[in-house]
């Protein structure tokens, strides 16, 4: 039995979510191969070869995978994945985009966003925005799975010495192309990898007021997130959204500022180790999940917190 893990990377670096995905593969058990498909992605393949528990890295370095478009990735992973018992990818917007295509091409169903491995064919995953946890058994010949990173502690990025083997690209059907990208430029830690996250909600009132959170975050090395309400209101861009349909995070410390605590937001952060809520409405549902609640006007509390850290 062999497991193929599709690496999450940006050609230059291997993304942390890959290490969580490898951890899920280890929990299933079997030889773990990692596919690094991209263009000029040798560095990412080298990093994957060093990860704990990897038997072999398959490097497919080709212009067709430069942006890892869903059509090309779906075809490639279906072709390379045929001989494996399991195919795993991180439940990122890249993995969610291409892996269902792979499953359909292999004529199997897929299991999305698992948070726990019960056995080689049985997995737990949240449904109904995290309001229930379903345990699902698959009798498909190949188990095609996305892995929610917060459900698995990452394997070590060092210590492995897997071989790297070159794989070949499959034909590009030429029906999709990359047009452009607007990526958030920030020196702050990525939300899914941050140790501490400070998130703002509708209570921030506007985008300018997020400066307070950025300033505080930079002081303590935190990432900055937002609730859907703040993103929908246009205060901040979509990549900052924490919640069921945004990013799922589980930092050591999550500080919710001016966030009421809608169920879909809680679904994205309730696995955080310590949750702090600052809200002037003492009835806000966020206090029901917070370890430390401070009922206060955030416009007074945040500057004060900033001055005292």
């Amino acid at each position: 039995m062999g497991i193929l893990v599709v690496a999450e990377h940006d050609n230059a670096t291997l993304k942390g979510a890959t290490l969580n995905t490898i951890a899920a593969a280890k929990a299933i058990g079997g030889d773990i191969d990692v596919l690094v498909a991209g263009q000029g992605c040798q560095a990412a393949a080298d990093a994957a070869a060093k990860a704990e528990g990897v038997a072999k890295v398959i490097l497919v370095d080709d212009a067709a995978y430069a942006q890892q478009l869903g059509e090309q990735m779906g075809d490639l992973v279906a072709e390379l994945g045929k001989g494996y018992s399991h195919i795993l990818a991180a439940a990122t917007t890249t993995g969610k985009d291409f892996l269902p295509r792979t499953a359909a091409l292999l004529d199997v169903n897929m299991i999305s966003e698992i948070v726990k491995v019960e056995s080689a064919d049985t997995f737990a995953r949240p449904i109904y925005a995290g309001n229930a946890i379903a345990t699902v058994q698959s009798n498909d010949s190949i188990k095609v799975i996305t892995v929610r990173a917060t459900g698995f502690d990452p394997v070590s990025a060092e210590g492995g010495s897997a071989s790297i083997e070159n794989g070949s690209a499959v034909a590009d059907k030429g029906v999709s192309s990359f047009v452009g990208e607007e990526l958030a430029k920030s020196d702050r830690p990525e939300l899914t990898a941050a140790d501490v996250i400070i998130s703002g909600g509708r209570g921030m009132q506007n985008g300018d007021n997020f400066e307070m959170l950025y300033k505080l975050a930079d002081k303590i090395g935190a990432g900055v997130g937002a609730s859907r309400a703040a993103v929908d209101a246009g205060f901040v861009p979509n990549d900052m959204q924490v919640g069921q349909t945004g990013k799922i995070v589980a930092p050591n410390l999550y500080v919710a500022v001016g966030i009421s605590g809608a169920i879909q937001h809680l679904a994205g952060m309730k696995d955080s180790k310590v949750i702090v809520a600052i809200n002037k409405d003492e009835e806000a549902p966020i206090f029901q999940v917070a370890d430390y609640g401070l009922v206060a006007d955030l416009f007074e509390a945040i500057p004060e917190l900033d001055s005292k850290l």
């Binding site: 942006q67 869903g70 059509e71 917007t93 890249t94 969610k96 985009d97 892996l99 269902p100 295509r101 792979t102 499953a103 359909a104 199997v108 169903n109 897929m110 999305s112 966003e113 019960e118 949240p126 449904i127 109904y128 925005a129 309001n131 229930a132 946890i133 379903a134 345990t135 699902v136 058994q137 698959s138 498909d140 059907k173 029906v175 999709s176 990359f178 047009v179 990208e181 990526l183 899914t192 929908d232 861009p237 990549d239 069921q244 349909t245 410390l253 309730k270 949750i275 702090v276 206090f287 029901q288 917070a290 370890d291 430390y292 609640g293 401070l294 509390a301 004060e304 917190l305 005292k308």
Partner: protein, 249 residues
Amino acid sequence: MKVLVAVKRVIDYNVKVRVKADNSDVDLTNVKMAMNPFCEIAVEEAVRLKEKGVATEIVVVSIGPKVAQEQIRTALALGADRGILIETDEKLESLSVAKALKAVVDKEQPQLVILGKQSIDNDNNQTGQMLGALTGMPQGTFASEVAVDGDKVNVTREIDGGLRTVGLTLPAIVTTDLRLNEPRYASLPNIMKAKRKPLEVVSPADLGVEIKSTQTLVKVEPPAERSAGIKVGSVDELVEKLKTEAKVL
């Protein structure tokens, strides 16, 4: 250009979800049902394309029990032209749904297929992409902007790092994210008009599709409860607790 929109009947998003006492599934007895919110966004996008003169006909399709006709009628009231219900009481998994939708695509030959990116019950986020693979169509998933230009469509996608735009050759698939548009409400006259719009009911067998299940739901449990902690009286006390008690600062 013909646009096909797939819609799903799900629990209303305002309803508090409860797990059955025997842990066999979520309890849907006497629960209010509605169109999946992401599907509403898909219908709205199609209607806007028609209002712009880009789309000429909107066909809405759903798969499920007879009562799913309600959600098709809702889509018709919002501006879709006709509906198709693939009626079945079988348990549906994404691959079967995608195969049934492929059969409809083969018959209807739409230039654009719009679906919600996921349904709020199973949260799978699979069907659109599977349909893409089965039909060979390219896909713009998690769309926040759709711009049709001749025989191409540019789709701006919400991705983890920000926004990405892909160019797709039609026919193509779009799956909707939250910020693509804000769906309208159906007016009373349009709800009345929708009752007279055509709604065809077919069976999976009529389409030559076999509904197959490959997954067993072993159990469904409520998530681990997180209990409320304490209220602190001041910023000083908060900093103190975080440093000495929680040791996270």
